[in-house]
Symmetry: C2
Subunit: 253 residues, 2 copies
DNA sequence: CCCGAATACCTGTCTAGACAGGTATGGAGC
DNA sequence: GCTCCATACCTGTCTAGACAGGTATTCGGG
């Protein structure tokens, strides 16, 4: 019975993924439960008829997904699902902006002297010129979130048209190519809509809202862009999963 | 000049980590910028004097961290930092509960007939008995968040003392060993404090708050635990980084 | 009975080589 | 000038074997 699970060499699914999926299924089915020791790598090699590196790669996949943990010299063990291991991503935001039914309206785009708060964030002198861009992103005709961004004004770098449109927002969220930023820090917290924000989003002031604040730096580690997304809590949520909910689509990579 | 970066074989830092760190430093320094093609794996082998699998492992580390991306048949390219790739984790929550200066007070722990909302979440009949546990977690004497949890009451499984204390909360957030759950779904959103929540947390009703809602399932895919953390937005935030902020501590694993 | 050493087993790391399949480029043929 | 194909290069995957170092057990000596 324990020899029947050799990998299918003719399948499109590579051996390492097949082994990972098989072990995963055994965990889902309850054959291995939290705290159990998995077969050792050498045993997996025999069981599935693969080399050690292939077995290791399968285990590495499960480790990456937080399903198992390895202990040097002892073995590989099934982890219990833990809430603290959950990660939330901004995939929902990205998907929203990529969606065709989503429209972006620029409500403001000009050069202004920086306010005290903005000059503090961007580390420029008070009243230094900054570019401010404010957008309202709607889905299906209804506003979902509001985005304001302040960029350090650099006269040498002309403000290209593209910096204002949907493209710029898409680039900010998912940029496959170039960008003037080296890294960014993000901060997610809860807030309530101010009066102006509420008016833009067609809501009442004081309604709960999530805020994603972002600060991007250039290659000299100087802040160049500060901004925040603010969105209605009832329209967009962030979700995550811990443990093994279901066997996924081959566990890519 | 390009041959001077062979790995240090006597270092504690394994070769794959050294290669990854070196390439990372070149990206941080601006030698490679977003969109650039990295040296091919074969070139990295020569440059650092390692085998291909070792070079690949270094690249895999950078891919995992979102610093570079690989394209089959084309090469490895430096990624621009993208906001949509950011992930927020519950590490701050876990750290808080693990902290010695944190105290947990049980405000309620008993068996009650389930309310319509709870019976809906836990998929039990109306008025079915459920265990309700409510906790207030304080740090430095000041309440930080409030946690309420509803468990399906199972007469066969006696309610051990441990299920109420700090330990149970710690286990929920970071459990190295066993647990009765197979997986859980989490939902992070923004809210405002209700009157009772505000009174527990020593705040005003209507103040912004984040909510982490969690629903755990057993091995028969039946929900067994539903609950939510609710915390003051001014006391706990979730942060993330995109791009290469700094060269980290050897990029473990 | 206790303690230390030998031992078996486990994960971590690395190597050298091999084949597959995707991608881009340049040249031959039309 | 255009198309198609050979070619070179690249990442993806796998193998078989090797050594290092952590862990637990067992066995023997004191």
């Amino acid at each position: 019975m324990s020899k029947l699970n050799r990998v299918d060499r003719s399948s499109f699914e590579p051996p390492y993924a097949q082994v990972a999926r098989s072990v995963r299924e055994r965990i889902v089915s309850g054959e291995y439960t939290a705290g159990d020791r998995l077969p050792s790598e050498a045993e997996l090699c025999e069981l599935y008829g693969v080399s050690r590196m292939t077995a290791r790669r399968a285990v590495a996949l499960l480790v990456r997904d937080g399903v198992v943990m390895t202990e040097n010299g002892r073995g590989t063990f099934v982890k219990a699902p833990e809430l603290g291991a959950a990660t939330f991503d901004l995939g929902s935001l990205r998907r929203l902006v990529d969606d065709d039914a989503t429209s972006v309206k620029i409500s403001e785009a000009r050069i202004v002297p920086s306010s005290p708060r903005v000059s503090g964030k961007l580390a420029v002198g008070p009243d230094s010129p900054v570019v401010v861009i404010k957008r309202i992103v709607s889905s299906g005709g209804e506003p979902v979130f509001y985005h304001s961004e302040y960029l350090v004004f650099d006269p040498r770098r002309p403000l290209v048209e593209a910096e204002y449109g949907v493209t710029a927002l898409r680039d900010l969220l998912a940029n496959a190519g170039k960008s003037g930023f080296k890294y960014g820090r993000l901060d997610l917290h809860a807030s309530t809509l101010s009066e102006t924000e509420a008016s833009y989003l067609g809501e009442q002031p004081g309604v709960p809202a999530w805020v994603v604040e972002h600060l991007f730096y250039d290659f000299e580690n100087r802040p160049v862009s500060w901004g925040r997304f603010i969105g209605r809590a009832d329209r967009l949520r962030f979700s995550a999963t811990v443990g093994v909910a279901d066997v996924p689509d081959g566990a890519r990579r």
